[in-house]
C-alpha cells in the first residue's frame, strides 16, 4: 500500500461514516489510517450524493508501442469494475491524460470537474517485454489544483494484463474505503456445456472462462482454498462420489481427499486452510466431519441417524453452520467447530445451503417456499430476511470476499440455470454467465495474491 498522506479532517468523519454505512458499510479503516481519498468520498457523500463520480480516461501508454490497444481496453475493464463495486458512478472511454504535464492534466480534468466529477483516475501503463506495469494516480477533482490523493504502482507479467486492470480498480476501492475491491478474483463453477458436468473458472466478471476438468463424469461442489491455489470438489471420475482436491494453476496431480464407501461430499475449507469440513456416510448415514489436511485425520462432528450435511465455516473458524433434518425437514443449524453447542437457526420451510458471510454477520441460505429463494439470517437467529423473490428459482449463493456481493444460480431465463450476481441486500441483480450449457454451483474465490 502506498498511502501518501494522513487524514486531516476528523470533524466530517462521523457524518460521513453514517452515510457510508447506508452505502453498504464500505468504509472499514479506522480514522487514524484514513486516506485523503476517503476524506474526498466522505465529503461527497455528506452532500447527499449516493455515489462518487469518477472519470477513468484511457490509460496512458509509455515505453513502447500499444499495438493491442491495451491503454483503452484495460481502462474500460477498470471502469466496469468500479461500476460493479456500486460505490462509483463512472465516466470512461475518453482520451488519455498526458504524462508529466500538469497544465495538460488540469485542462483535461477541468471539463469533467465542471460536469460533476469528484475524482479522476490516471493510469500510466508501461510495457517492458514480458512485464507490464501500471501506475495509478488518483486526483481530487473537487480541489482547486486537482491534487493527487493517492498513487500506486502494480506490476504483473504481460500475459496477465487484464488482472492489472482489476488490481487498479481494487486499489481505487481500497484508497477510498479502506478495504480493497474484489475485481481480482475468480469464480469456480459447474458447467454442463460439454454434455457432462465439468468444473470451470472465470474472472469474477465472466471473462476468461476455461474448463479445468475433462473427465466426462459428474464434477460438482467446487470450493476454493483460502490461498486460492486449490479447489476441493466431489467427482464420480472413479465411479463413486469421492472428494478430490485440484490445483488449477499448477501442474500438480489431483489428490483424493476422501474416498470412503458411501458419499464424500460438500467440502468447505476452514478459514486457515488447514482443514476441510465435509460430509461422509461411512458410519452409516450422512454426517459432518472435519479432515485435518496435515495429519489426514477425520474427526466426526455430528451424531444423528438422518441427514447432516453442507457445512459452512464462520470466518473465525470457531463455528460451523450446517443442514440437518434432526428437527424434521431440512433446517439450518450452527455448532462450534468441535461439534458441541448445536443450536437451530431456521424454523419454517425447507432450508439448505448455509453460506457464512466473510464478515461473519450473516448466513445466507436457500429456502423452499414454493420456489427456491435466497434468505439471510444472523448467526444468532436475528434479522431473518428475504434476499430474492423470484423470478424462477434462486439458489446456491457464494460470497465475494468483501461480503458485499453474492453470486448465485437462477433459472429465471429460458434454457435452465445460469449464474447471476447481486449486492448482499438483493439489489443490482445482473447476469454473469450465458449458454452453452447450464452454469451452477458457483464459488467466489478470495482475493488472488
Amino acid at each position: 500500500m502506498n498511502r501518501l498522506l494522513r487524514p486531516g479532517r476528523p470533524l466530517g468523519f462521523l457524518v460521513g461514516l453514517v452515510l457510508l454505512a447506508a452505502l453498504g458499510g464500505a468504509l472499514s479503516s479506522p480514522p487514524a489510517a484514513r486516506s485523503q481519498a476517503a476524506d474526498v468520498l466522505l465529503n461527497v457523500l455528506a452532500t447527499g450524493a449516493k455515489k462518487l463520480n469518477i472519470v477513468v480516461p484511457h490509460f496512458t501508454v509509455v515505453g513502447g508501442p500499444d499495438a493491442q490497444g491495451l491503454g483503452k481496453n484495460l481502462s474500460l475493464v477498470t471502469a466496469r469494475d468500479l461500476t460493479f463495486s456500486s460505490l462509483f458512478s463512472v465516466v470512461s472511454d475518453v482520451p488519455p491524460i498526458p504524462v508529466g504535464d500538469p497544465a495538460a492534466l488540469k485542462a483535461a480534468f477541468a471539463n469533467f470537474a465542471a460536469a460533476g466529477a469528484h475524482a479522476g483516475l490516471q493510469g500510466v501503463l508501461t510495457l517492458r517485454g514480458d512485464r507490464a506495469e501500471i501506475e495509478m494516480r488518483l486526483h481530487d477533482l473537487t480541489s482547486p489544483e486537482f491534487r493527487l490523493i493517492g498513487a500506486k504502482k502494480i506490476e504483473l507479467p504481460t500475459a496477465q494484463t487484464r488482472r492489472l486492470a482489476h488490481k487498479v480498480a481494487d486499489e481505487v476501492v481500497l484508497q477510498f474505503t479502506g478495504e480493497a475491491g474484489v475485481a481480482d478474483t475468480k469464480v469456480a463453477y459447474v458447467n454442463s456445456g460439454s454434455g457432462s458436468k465439468e468444473l470451470s473458472l472465470m474472472d469474477y466478471d465472466g471473462a476468461s472462462a476455461a474448463r479445468v476438468t475433462s473427465n466426462n463424469s459428474i464434477n460438482i461442489s467446487p470450493v476454493w482454498s483460502p490461498d486460492t491455489r486449490s479447489l476441493a470438489f466431489t467427482s464420480y471420475m472413479r465411479g463413486y462420489p469421492y472428494l478430490y482436491r485440484m490445483f488449477p494453476f499448477e501442474n500438480r496431480p489431483v489428490q483424493v481427499l476422501a474416498g470412503f464407501l458411501g458419499i464424500n461430499t460438500s467440502p468447505a475449507f476452514s478459514p486457515d486452510g488447514r482443514s476441510v469440513a465435509l460430509t461422509l456416510s461411512r458410519d452409516g448415514n450422512p454426517e459432518v466431519y472435519v479432515l485435518n489436511l496435515a495429519s489426514g485425520a477425520f474427526r466426526r462432528l455430528t451424531t444423528y441417524s438422518g441427514i447432516d450435511t453442507e457445512p459452512s465455516w464462520s470466518p473465525t473458524g470457531r463455528e460451523i453452520a450446517f443442514v440437518s433434518e434432526r428437527a424434521g425437514g431440512a433446517q439450518i443449524f450452527v455448532m462450534d467447530a468441535e461439534g458441541a453447542n448445536v443450536r437451530r437457526l431456521t424454523q419454517a420451510g425447507f432450508n439448505t445451503q448455509p453460506r457464512w458471510s466473510p464478515k461473519g454477520d450473516t448466513i445466507v441460505f436457500t429456502s423452499r417456499q414454493g420456489n427456491f429463494d435466497l434468505w439471510g439470517i444472523g448467526p444468532d437467529g436475528s434479522n431473518l430476511r428475504r434476499i430474492t423473490a423470484g423470478p424462477g428459482n434462486n439458489e446456491g449463493a457464494s460470497w465475494a470476499p468483501n461480503g458485499r456481493h453474492l453470486v448465485f444460480q437462477s433459472n429465471r431465463l429460458a434454457g435452465g440455470y445460469q449464474l447471476f450476481t447481486m449486492l448482499a441486500d438483493g439489489s443490482e441483480q445482473q447476469p454473469l454467465t450465458r449458454a452453452p450449457g447450464e452454469s451452477t454451483s458457483a464459488s467466489w474465490s478470495p482475493r488472488l495474491p
Binding site: R238, P241, F249, V254, G262, T309
Partner: protein, 192 residues
Amino acid sequence: MAHRRGSALLVAPVLVLSLFLAGCPKRPATTAASAPPPTGAPPSSAAPSTTSPGGAMTPSPVAPSTATPSTTPPAPSEFRETANLKDVFFDFDKYDIRAGDAAVLDTNAAWLKSNDNLVLIEGHCDERGTNEYNLALGERRAKATMNYLVGQGVQANRITIISYGKERPTCTEHSEGCWAKNRRAHFLVKAR
C-alpha cells in the same frame, strides 16, 4: 446402523493413507507471496491432465493396497441393467419405503435370494434442492432400500449402494409427474 458393511472399515484406512502419499500436506499455510500468480486464463491442460485410455481422469497415485481386493466394491460400470429388479419410488424429501413399494422389494428380494448376483442400489432424487443435500438424500434412499432387502434375507455383503443425488434423472421435464419418476432406488446386477 444395523447393517453397516464390514468392508467400509477396511477400505477407509487405505484411502486415508493414499492422502499422505499424494503429497498433500506440504504447506498447510502458504503465504500469498510464495504462491505463483494465477494466469489470466488457466490452461485446461494444467489441471487434471492425465487421461487414462478409458477416458477417466487419473487422480494422484493411490497407495499400494494393504486390503484384499474383495474389500473394494466393483466399479459401478461393471454392473448391468436387469428386468428382474424393479425400481421403488419415494415422496419428496423422504426416504422411507412406501407401503406399496414394500411388495416390489419383496419380489426383488426373492429374486436376489434365488440368483446369486452382486447388486448395486442407486439412490436418486428429483431436480429440486441442492446437489449436496440431494446426494445425502439419495444415499438415505439407497440405504433404506438396502436395509429392507437385508431384512428380507439378502446378504448385506452382496449389496453396494451409490447415491447420484439429482445428477442422473431419468425424466428431464420440470413437473411433478417427472419428479416422482426421478425419486427412486434403481437396481443393477453383476455376476459374482
